[in-house]
Amino acid sequence: MVITLNGERFELDRPLSVTDLLTQLEIDPRRVAIEHNLNIIRRNTFPEVIVEDGDTIEIVNFVGGG
């Protein structure tokens, strides 16, 4: 299956939870915010929200800025 991850095509074997996606990407869930199909998802729901084929995911964090 294919999703759009931060604007890029990204392949996954099967649907998985946001928590599992972050684990696979080696991203600390405490430091990011995530949009799933344009909806912001709460951190405490990362284990329940399932990423399916065709979904759009944005993962953002804080970077230097003024």
Partner: protein, 259 residues
């Protein structure tokens, strides 16, 4: 002389200097500059996680968030919708409802789009955000932002990163007269005297990034800015003497030798 505390939306800050986290040569230099500045609020930007290079260190490893309050910005947003979306993501990433709201209207000047800025302020205030809008040095725009529920107004001194200092001193004075919320001069500071001037005009605080991060010695400049903001504030509270055309002697005119 005692000063009133620096309070925004019920939160008290020890420093009237707010600094950025961008453009530093390294995170350790940034951390040292933050320490030297004495700032207890820093701005951060919200961007996509770098998925190809996960080895890169995180900005947050170099900010002691027990001591320093994070203020996410919406830098780079060119519409109200985009800014609102970014503010919501910032809230989720940082777990606070504060935002430095930027809606840019022009790429070369990075001047704000006032209309979109006011619209985005309204939306975010309704959603419970503490909105600190970066705005033009326009007293009317500042008044409209205040009416829309902004927790502070943050007029620019000069274009972002320009280092030109405060270009329209009189407008900042007028905004000072008008504002019932904290006034923070945001952007355009080049050196310490610019920050001092902002405070002398009655600003409650100054926000800067490039002036420190881009200095040849950022840590030394951060120290200079710390003192400039303190000096400017004290001078404002002390009440300066009026400007006069001609001299008035400081030493007695009587008792001159040989007269």
């Amino acid at each position: 002389m005692t000063d009133s505390p620096f309070v925004i939306a019920g939160r008290t800050f020890t420093s009237r200097l707010i600094v950025g986290t961008g453009k530093y040569s390294s995170f350790p230099v940034m951390a040292q500059a933050h320490e030297a500045s004495g700032a207890d609020m820093v701005t951060v930007a919200v961007r996509r996680v770098n998925l190809t290079d996960r080895s890169r260190e995180s900005l947050l490893d170099y900010i002691d968030t027990d001591k320093i309050f994070l203020l996410p910005n919406t830098a780079g947003c060119y519409s109200a919708d985009e800014a609102v979306r970014t503010a919501r993501l910032g809230r989720e990433a940082g777990l606070s409802n504060w935002v430095k709201l930027e809606v840019i209207g022009d790429e070369r000047t990075l001047f704000p789009d006032n209309e979109a800025l006011i619209e985005a302020t309204r939306v975010l205030v309704k959603e419970g955000f503490v909105v600190l809008p970066y705005t033009n040095d326009d007293p009317i725009a500042c008044r409209k932002l205040e009416d829309a529920g902004a927790a502070a107004v943050m007029p620019l001194g000069a274009p972002i990163g320009s280092g030109l200092g405060i270009q329209n001193v009189n407008n900042i004075r007028i905004i000072r007269e008008f504002a019932r919320v904290p006034l923070i001069v945001d952007a355009g500071v080049g050196t310490a005297s610019d920050a001092a001037l902002a405070m002398e005009l009655g600003a409650d605080g100054v926000l800067m990034n490039t002036a420190i991060a881009g200095a040849q010695e950022p840590v030394a400049m951060a120290t200079a800015m710390k003192y400039a903001v303190i000096a400017g504030r004290l001078a404002y509270l002390a009440g300066r003497i009026p400007r006069k055309m001609y001299a008035s002697a400081s030493s007695p005119v009587e008792g001159m030798v040989g007269r």
